[in-house]
């Protein structure tokens, strides 16, 4: 009896959750579906959900006509470059804060968090003018520098919370067993730190890939990543829904897949370790 009731409940919860889940996902699904339509079908009334002539011509057109690969490559270089550079700067810092905490470590961490509160628009003008004067406007280098600094606090915090969980006793034990500092780093610390570093890398690539304030303001045609390339479809002459959908699908697919793998790390990274 009790079982029947709980099963009926389970059916109810399942139906409700699936309806809401599909509703939230629907705009993405619709974009993917539209990307396989012809332009005429994309605006046909009433709209067709399944029964139309599926075509991949939009993908070929977008790839052929619009330097898509250059923008894709820019996104890859900017997001990976800024993340790797950020890790190089942040790993030693997080390392020392986690293993050799000083009196001010907590304050330094809170201060780093507070730099994230500086609204980007408050520093847009000087950065824009400096970049213009030194020739960094519309360059990948310029964006790598800015995004590294933007995400540095998050990288440090994430790494700190991961390193904090490596037990100090294990280091002492390996030292007792006569491990040199070199052995300690190669055989003990690195294997334990790699998962945390990988998660940090993943989350920051996602954040940098989708960053759309600095990438829109500091680039033009040359260094524009996908965020800025897609924005160019907002002009009236760019109103081709099927092609917009194809370009959008290609722009979000890699990060959507990466993102699904990083749900747990996302919670931890974006809440600065406060929710795990």
């Amino acid at each position: 009896m009790a079982r029947a009731v709980s099963n009926r409940r389970k059916v109810g919860y399942t139906i409700a959750a699936w309806i809401i889940g599909l509703a939230i996902f629907f705009p993405i699904l619709w974009t993917i579906v539209t990307s396989f339509k012809t332009e005429a079908e994309a605006i046909s009334s009433p709209p067709s959900f399944m029964f139309f002539n599926w075509t991949t011509e939009n993908y070929t057109t977008v790839l052929e006509r619009s330097n898509y690969f250059r923008h894709f490559w820019n996104s890859v270089v900017i997001s990976l470059g800024s993340t790797v550079l950020g890790l190089i700067i942040a790993i030693p810092a997080a390392w020392s804060m986690a293993f050799v905490p000083a009196k001010h470590t907590k304050n330094v961490l809170m201060w780093m968090l507070s730099t994230k509160m500086l609204p980007p628009v408050g520093v847009l003008i000087p950065i824009y003018l400096i970049f213009r004067d030194v020739g960094l406007l519309d360059t990948k280098t310029g964006l790598v520098i800015v995004l590294t600094l933007i995400n540095l606090p998050i990288i440090v915090w994430m790494l700190y919370t991961y390193f904090k969980e490596i037990p100090g006793e294990i280091l002492e034990a390996s030292r007792m067993d006569g491990a040199s500092l070199r052995d300690e780093i190669i055989y003990v610390l690195t294997p334990m730190a790699v998962p945390g570093i990988a998660s940090t890398l993943l989350l920051n690539v996602i954040l940098a890939w989708n960053e759309a304030f600095w990438t829109l303001n500091l680039t033009a045609a040359k260094a524009a990543p996908l965020t800025a390339f897609i924005a160019s479809y907002s002009s009236p002459e760019g109103l081709f829904y099927a092609k917009l959908s194809a370009a959008s699908t290609m722009a979000i697919a890699p990060i959507l897949i990466l993102g699904w793998f990083s749900q747990k790390q996302l919670v931890r990274g974006l809440t600065f370790g406060a929710v795990k």
């Binding site: 709980s6 409940r9 389970k10 919860y13 409700a16 959750a17 889940g21 599909l22 939230i24 705009p27 539209t34 009334s45 700067i89 810092a93 390392w95 020392s96 804060m97 050799v100 000083a102 730099t115 994230k116 509160m117 500086l118 609204p119 980007p120 628009v121 408050g122 520093v123 847009l124 003008i125 000087p126 824009y128 400096i130 600094l149 540095l152 606090p153 996602i206 989708n210 759309a212 304030f213 303001n217 800025a228 897609i230 924005a231 109103l239 829904y241 917009l244 959008s248 722009a251 959507l256 990466l258 993102g259 699904w260 749900q263 996302l266 919670v267 809440t271 600065f272 406060a274 929710v275």
Partner: protein
């Protein structure tokens, strides 16, 4: 335990990160404040001169400023209410026993990974467009007049788009927090005859307070600087109806080339963000210690 040697090594390891962040904060900040005291227009190079607080005076006397300030607060507040309330409800639902929980979670979290320009354009063209958008098709199907969302309710539409992007984040964090709730406590309350509502009010909600604080803090940081969504949907219009502070400063400085006026706006944005930040840091500090 830590030797003098390892202490100084630690200091050396930490200094690049600290110095870079310090420079990133101080140099542009000082320049923004300096520019805000100048008459400085990019179209008239060589005519820069010190004008004191004139830019601020002009900025505050401009009705666009109050519209932008109000829009900023409405945007942040509106999205926070929708995502926190919606996120709590959705997290509770997703915590129930069901089939395909993992897949539903993947569907719900997906919008967070969509870049802002894509989600704004998809909503603008394929859903909110009054001629060929899905909402218009739907209105026609039920015999209603299509509604031109971005012309007649631009700010509400943008609040909707941004909420769609952030609801997954709130849900995911609150769900993570709910899953750490002690189920025995819940069962005990149920045995004692506590109604679902009072169980939610006295057990679930207090347990979630820390996660809710974190959600509000993180989202506020990002929501104060919403930009791409406005740029590709309405360009801040019609008039200033959907201009927030971030967009206003952008329009002043990079579209009208008024560096002085734009910088004054930037300083105001920094002060506003700091007021919010002080409240939030205090809140999160309290919650983190507990």
């Amino acid at each position: 335990m830590a030797t003098q040697h390892s202490r100084s090594a630690a200091r050396i390891m930490i200094s690049p990160a600290v110095l870079l962040l310090l420079a990133w904060m101080i140099v542009p900040l000082a320049l923004t404040i300096y520019f805000s005291l100048l008459r400085y227009n990019l179209l008239m190079p060589g005519t820069e001169r010190f004008v004191g607080l004139l830019n601020y005076k002009l900025f505050f006397n401009n009705p666009a400023f109050f519209t932008a300030l109000l829009n900023t607060l409405l945007l942040v507040g509106g999205v926070l209410i929708i995502t926190v309330v919606g996120g709590i409800l959705l997290a509770i639902l997703l915590d129930q026993p069901m089939w395909g929980q993992g897949i539903v979670r993947i569907l719900v979290i997906a919008p967070f990974f969509v870049m802002p320009t894509v989600s704004a354009l998809v909503w603008k063209n394929m859903f909110m467009n009054p001629v060929s958008g899905l909402f218009a098709e739907f209105s026609k199907a039920v015999g209603l007049q299509p509604f031109d969302f971005l012309t007649h309710a631009p700010l509400a539409s943008i609040i909707g788009i941004v909420s769609w992007q952030w609801l997954p984040f709130a849900t995911l964090i609150l769900l993570t927090a709910i899953q750490s709730l002690d189920s025995e406590q819940m069962e005990a309350a149920e045995m004692d005859g506590a109604s679902p509502l009072s169980r939610f009010w006295y057990i679930t909600l207090p347990h979630l307070s820390r996660a809710i604080t974190v959600v509000i803090l993180i989202q506020t940081i990002f929501l104060l600087s919403v930009f791409a969504e406005i740029l590709v949907t309405t360009n801040g219009g019609p008039g200033n109806a959907s201009t927030n502070l971030t967009y206003l400063v952008y329009a002043r400085s990079l579209l009208n080339f008024d560096v002085g006026g734009g910088s004054a706006g930037g300083v105001v944005a920094i002060i506003l963000a700091n007021i919010v930040a002080i409240f939030l840091m205090r809140m999160i500090g309290k919650n983190l210690d507990a």
